[in-house]
């Protein structure tokens, strides 16, 4: 197992001079600390339709790759239109005959079971998630999997209390719901989508992202073990064509999509003229705003977490740092110091802070946007950390002297790249933060409570984190303004998007 800090650096460290800061990687090596739990992967994963694992009608499979090693992990069934049709029909049958008739109290128990069974197998799922997607094991272990279980647990309790969801009105399920999820939080997005839909009494056909199908299909094993009636949840795996077939299928009454704004718009166009309901959770270019009175060390940790969490593959990533001019130089210096010690490498190593980029395509996209930042005149700083020889990795990168017009300030990079802009007044911070087509999230760092509430009121964003960043909870609605999408996930508000008022 390769270590992260190189031996060469160790021997040249400091040359006897006193260290201005304690740079851990410079002073000693860490032994590798790989997570060794067995992910229990199968060589081949089939579709999950009507409660059974079935081969795709076309007989076609595609490889899923471990981005940390570029090696094949397993092969995944490629669902064609006939498979999507079978899944939708199974879901409709399950809705008509079983799930739609079941009392909320009984539905709740199934969801509680799923939450518990997922907790039982948490470490196994975390390792599988990390191998398939490239995220650090400490994140999949401490965030993705427990949060996924929490979503099932939270929504389970709603299933028999739906009369409290929409005061003054009765709610009813929609029927069959089609869901398409992204590759950045494969299992967690699966839980975000399934739990409210099922609690409300809908049946589901869900398509995972093509690079990260494994944990959804492992969740299918749990769904079987929980005894969920066949057809209530169906998974069809594949790429864009499978997703398009699912969106176009006449059975689903609603489409819920999480992914890029670009694809979201394509889906919206494809559904124009139909009666299908939609919710869209799309991209972002969040402002993380640091005022001069903020606790700076804490803010720096929040900035780091905001942009390097999950390699920056986060729709709500704090990718635009807006820093108050009086403290800009200080914050940038601290950030440079801090990213030097981010440990980039083997995602399965418990010490790893930044794992592998999910796919070769994504790495190419990040590389291209970073090149545009350099070309447009922003000042780049990249961590000098060693990168593993094999696998898709990108150095933690910060750009200073960024202008609002730069592509790196406007486009979602979806990688470990931070663009830094400055401001002088509260109004300028608000203006710059809101000057984007997106509006998913924002961060505010200040010691002043009234300013937090002022900023939170003015920022056109669905989630505002004060003196914190990237916090999530099943009780807390998540979703965007403007081109970051519509509808909410989580909380009472999220449930309302999975029902009809009657």
């Amino acid at each position: 197992m390769p270590t992260l800090a190189s031996k060469k650096r160790k021997t040249t460290a400091r040359n006897g001079r006193p260290a201005p800061e304690l740079i851990f990687g410079d002073l000693w090596d860490f032994d590798p600390a790989p997570e060794t739990a067995d992910p229990k992967l199968k060589p081949r994963y089939e579709l999950f339709i009507n409660g059974k694992f079935v081969a795709p009608k076309s007989g076609k499979y595609f490889d899923t790759i471990n981005p940390a090693t570029e090696r094949k992990l397993a092969e995944i069934a490629l669902a064609g239109p006939a498979d999507v049709d079978a899944a939708c029909r199974a879901a409709q049958r399950a809705y008509d005959n079983v799930w739609g008739k079941l009392s909320g109290r009984e539905r709740a128990k199934y969801l509680f079971r799923i939450a518990r069974l997922l907790q039982d197998r948490a470490r196994e799922f975390a390792v599988a998630e990390t191998m398939d997607g490239g995220k650090p094991i400490k994140e999949s272990r401490d965030f993705d999997v427990p949060m996924a279980a929490a979503h099932f647990f939270y929504h389970a309790g709603w299933a028999d209390k739906l009369e409290y969801v929409a005061p003054g009105r009765r709610v009813a399920p929609l029927g069959v719901v089609a869901q398409v999820i992204p590759w950045n939080f494969p299992l967690l997005m699966c839980a975000w989508k399934l739990a409210p839909a099922l609690a409300m009494g809908n049946c589901v056909v869900l398509k995972p992202a093509e690079t990260t199908s494994i944990t959804a299909l492992k969740l299918a094993e749990i769904i079987q073990d929980a005894g969920l009636p066949p057809g209530v949840v169906n998974f069809v795996t594949g790429a864009g064509a499978t997703g398009a077939a699912l969106m176009a299928h006449p059975i689903p009454a609603k489409v819920a999509f999480t992914g890029s704004t670009e694809v979201g718009k394509i889906i919206m166009r494809s559904l124009a003229g139909t009666d299908k309901k939609m919710t869209m959770e799309l991209g972002g270019k969040a402002a993380n705003i640091v005022f001069d009175d903020a606790p700076l060390d804490q803010a720096v940790e929040g900035i780091i977490n905001g942009i390097f969490f999950n390699q920056g593959h986060v729709c709500c990533a704090g990718s635009r740092l807006l820093v108050h001019e009086p403290v800009a130089a200080k914050v940038i210096a601290k950030l440079k110091q801090r990213i030097k010690v981010l440990r980039v490498g083997d995602p399965l190593d418990k010490n790893t802070d930044v794992g592998a980029i999910n796919s070769k395509e994504q790495l190419a996209k990040i590389t291209k946007l970073v090149a545009s930042g350099v070309k447009e005149g922003a000042e780049i700083y990249q961590s000098p950390c060693p990168l593993p020889a094999k696998g898709w990795y990108f150095r933690p990168t910060i750009f200073s002297n960024v202008a609002m017009s730069h592509r790196i300030a406007r486009e979602e990079i979806f990688g470990p790249v931070l663009s830094i802009l400055t401001f002088r007044t509260v109004d300028e911070a608000i203006e710059k933060a809101n000057n984007t087509a997106y509006g998913l999230s924002a961060g505010v760092w200040t010691d002043k409570g009234s300013r937090i509430l002022k900023m939170s009121t003015e920022l056109k964003a669905g989630v505002v984190w004060a003196n914190s960043y990237n916090k999530f909870d099943p009780t807390s609605p998540f979703g965007g303004y403007k081109e970051s999408g519509f509808g909410r996930e989580g909380g009472r508000q999220g449930l309302l998007d999975y029902c009809q008022l009657v």
């Binding site: 979201g264 003229g273 989630v463």
Partner: protein
């Protein structure tokens, strides 16, 4: 000799002013007996864009009014309508409605205003909440208006339907650009005069008259309209949905062929207010 009456030149109410179309185009309106009544402004895409600008200017101020103040202003608008009920009823009768039916539409419209006036300082308490997150944060979800809402009213119930679409949007602080019925535009002309004498700030509600065929494409694609609330046919629904995709615009498209009953209790709802709100969730740390 009998006196020749002074007839009124119909103008639309945009940005707090009475204007004719920038194109100077008009279309003739007949009364129920088929006689010429007046020339109605035939608004253009440019008029629509100007109205959106007016709505954008009025938006932040209107959204910042206190909920109590917005409620009082809507109530005041109800007072204005009640006081000029006969004029409104006469405008509705131009389209052929019987006297009793027209009077009923006006009173139903006033009642609808009063209904939403009462929601202005309450919907937040019902729709928002504090979330018990599993971490030391005070986490709360509040609502915010979306911004500018485009409204396309049906021909049926030209006053009641028009206001049933406009009022839930402005109750929460949105501003509106509305296209009135093209077959029965006159109630919207009179409504503009009432809006001008109410306390509603200019630009909060902007009324246009004209033809859907000319204006629906701009309603669909104008990126500053953050939502569209319309009662329209299948082709228009598709056009609006397609245009909405370009800027991820929110749509609330009711089917005109379904002939919604504007007098029903279900035609007024807290959830009509909700449809033009964004939810914002704030995480505030709890610490000493």
């Amino acid at each position: 000799m009998s006196r020749l009456p002074i007839t009124k030149t119909p103008k639309v109410y945009v940005g707090g002013a009475f204007i004719r179309s920038e194109s100077a185009r008009v279309f003739p309106l007949q009364d129920a007996a088929g006689n010429f009544y007046a020339n109605i402004p035939q608004c253009t895409r440019k008029d629509l864009r100007n109205a959106v600008e007016a709505a954008a200017k009025a938006g932040p101020g209107w959204a910042k009014r206190t909920a109590y103040n917005r409620g009082q202003i809507l109530y005041r608008l109800g007072e204005m309508l009640e006081a000029r009920a006969s004029e409104l009823a006469a405008a509705i009768q131009l389209g052929g409605a019987a006297k009793a039916a027209a009077a009923k539409e006006v009173t139903a419209t006033v009642d609808r205003l009063i209904y939403y006036a009462g929601w202005a300082d309450k919907y937040e308490q019902v729709l928002g909440n504090v979330n018990p997150v599993a971490a030391p944060y005070f986490n709360f979800t509040v609502t915010e208006p979306m911004g500018i809402v485009g409204v396309i009213a049906p021909d049926e119930a030209p006053l009641l339907a028009l206001l049933s679409l406009i009022v839930p949007a402005i109750t929460s602080g949105n501003t509106v650009v509305a296209l009135a019925s093209s077959t029965q535009p006159y109630p919207a002309i009179v409504l503009g005069e009432l809006l001008a004498t109410s306390d509603l700030p200019g630009g909060v509600v902007n009324l246009l008259t004209g033809f859907r065929k000319e204006l629906v494409p701009t309603f669909a694609t104008h990126t500053h309209l953050r939502a569209v609330s319309a009662v329209v046919g299948a082709d228009e629904r598709k056009a609006l949905a397609l245009g909405a995709a370009d800027s991820v615009k929110r749509t609330r498209l009711l089917k005109s062929e379904a002939q919604p009953d504007w007098y029903a209790d279900t035609a007024q709802s807290l959830y009509a207010v909700r449809d033009f709100l964004e939810y914002k969730t704030t995480w505030h740390p709890i610490g000493a």
